[in-house]
Symmetry: C2
Subunit: 356 residues, 2 copies
Amino acid sequence: MFRNFRMVSYIVFGRGSFNQLDDILSKQRNDDGSIMVFCVDDVFKDNPFKERLPLKSRDLLMWVNVDVEPKTSYVDLLTKQIKDKAMGALPAAVIGIGGGSTMDIAKAVSLMLTNPGSSADYQGWDLIKNPAVYHVGVPTLSGTGAEASRTAILTGPQKKLGLNSDYTVFDQIVLDPEIVRGAPVEQWFYTGMDCYIHCIESLTGTYLNAFSKAYGEKALDLCRQVFLEGGPESEDKLMMASYCGGMSIAYSQVGVAHALSYGLSYVLGLRHGIGNSIAFDYLEEFYPEGVAEFRRMLEKHRIDLPRHITANLEEEKLNTMIDVALILEPLWENALGKDWKKIMTRDRIAELYRKM
Amino acid sequence: MFRNFRMVSYIVFGRGSFNQLDDILSKQRNDDGSIMVFCVDDVFKDNPFKERLPLKSRDLLMWVNVDVEPKTSYVDLLTKQIKDKAMGALPAAVIGIGGGSTMDIAKAVSLMLTNPGSSADYQGWDLIKNPAVYHVGVPTLSGTGAEASRTAILTGPQKKLGLNSDYTVFDQIVLDPEIVRGAPVEQWFYTGMDCYIHCIESLTGTYLNAFSKAYGEKALDLCRQVFLEGGPESEDKLMMASYCGGMSIAYSQVGVAHALSYGLSYVLGLRHGIGNSIAFDYLEEFYPEGVAEFRRMLEKHRIDLPRHITANLEEEKLNTMIDVALILEPLWENALGKDWKKIMTRDRIAELYRKM
């Protein structure tokens, strides 16, 4: 059985295409006066970009905080606030504007407005029962591929795991390379590395087919152009790399770096992009060429990767880290084959974590 | 304004994925006993593949003939036959199984079942008013990109022009590289060249952006692998090349070869793929590297391109050919810029046609 891959329904790509958001949303506005909800990264709170949001009088603007990665409790809180403010009426749209975390929050909220209970109940695969509210993704950082994926990754009480479902996929994405400007260099770099590492993992994995290979190769090619060559089209290219990376996941998987990164995020609260980079740097035995190239990218952009972050970690926390990493069985199997459990023991994972 | 590009809703890719068609369709079957319509290229009429069609008792199997390119009159006839046989009930699905022409027929029929009048009334851009019947595309030849596009190209009483609309896009495509086997070498080659030429035209055109460039480059890369190197993955790669070629059209256009090919098809009844190839071979001044590479492909696969097809053409027919080619203004503008009318006069087009 091959996955029947749900695609984003509408995509607009181009410098300045953010200006079309108002027009796009107007087609979804109902005569009954229902509102729209804008979930926007709060880094834009004091930014002139705020003035460009196409809000109508009764729309809700929710500044979302993603200093830490999104939690199920945060999604539940936002959903409750929206329900209270909308007084029982279902919003006509949820629009997520920000990086991968903000887009994941928008996806999750749009699902939780129509599905009962806590978002923690839906961490897993195809547990969502009802279609989401119409939802739009507008990335302001490139690399995570969240704009194309069928997941909304959340940290819950027991695990970091996405709400994976066909209903999670955005109805519309707006890819405007102009609005990714202005992020700090490290954030730009680590988010881009999410895409780069993802491509290395999927292209060397055991799950690949021609569909995912084509997308993965193109994303990798674009990442190399952006991070080793640079140039005026870099914003456009990284935005396409991110999208192609997200598409490549249809018939592939990520691997060792992503699995270890989930443990780092869960226990140490590290952001996903930096977590991937920290883990990847110690994975030369699994990805020799990728790690060598990654180090050239680090050097070119003078990125000082954090070291010794697990130096004083208690045994119990290390064990939790290992538990969280081991939940991600498809990632290990993709990287190491069906017999991965013989290769990747708890001791070996502990040894890798202790180096970081 | 950037085009808000409508994507295919679901895509399944993989060797043997055709076996999932029954399961996919079962989710669309209604309890009211409505039927599904299979439009299948009649080359499969005496082929064992016929036994694999997941027909239910009341479903309609329409063998479609594409010895000539699809005409609006043929689409109107098929639509009437379906309406008569379904006795007023709307079919739950239309499934097109074949090459680009068959897929275009399935798209057009699914539109004409819900839109009044003749399909000739809708040749153009965004003239379709009502959503189509749920429709599925299953390509059995790779290269045209019809599986990904928002058009259904038809030859009408006045012109060869597509039904271009968001409703034209397939709800589902099934990309199974196993079922493209068995086509004659020339058909395989010319259909693949549709994709190759399309990429050369779009990548050297004036309309390109990073989205279409990424898709176009990947399609071109895959075409080169297939037609210059070959190898066991060629079917998979050409299927992805075709899909990426179709996607690249979102923000790009084809060019001189396609424009001239439309005239050849309209007047001489030539198939699109061979028409492109015949025209392209005389376009060295516009696409020097592409034409040189194309000739290496011709040679490698020992393809004997038809020559002197316009040798005895009456003046009146030549004029019609020029008229049909000139309708396609966006293609000329993409290839030659805003001032294309100064460059590409009727005389110059006539001169090119007379060489063919």
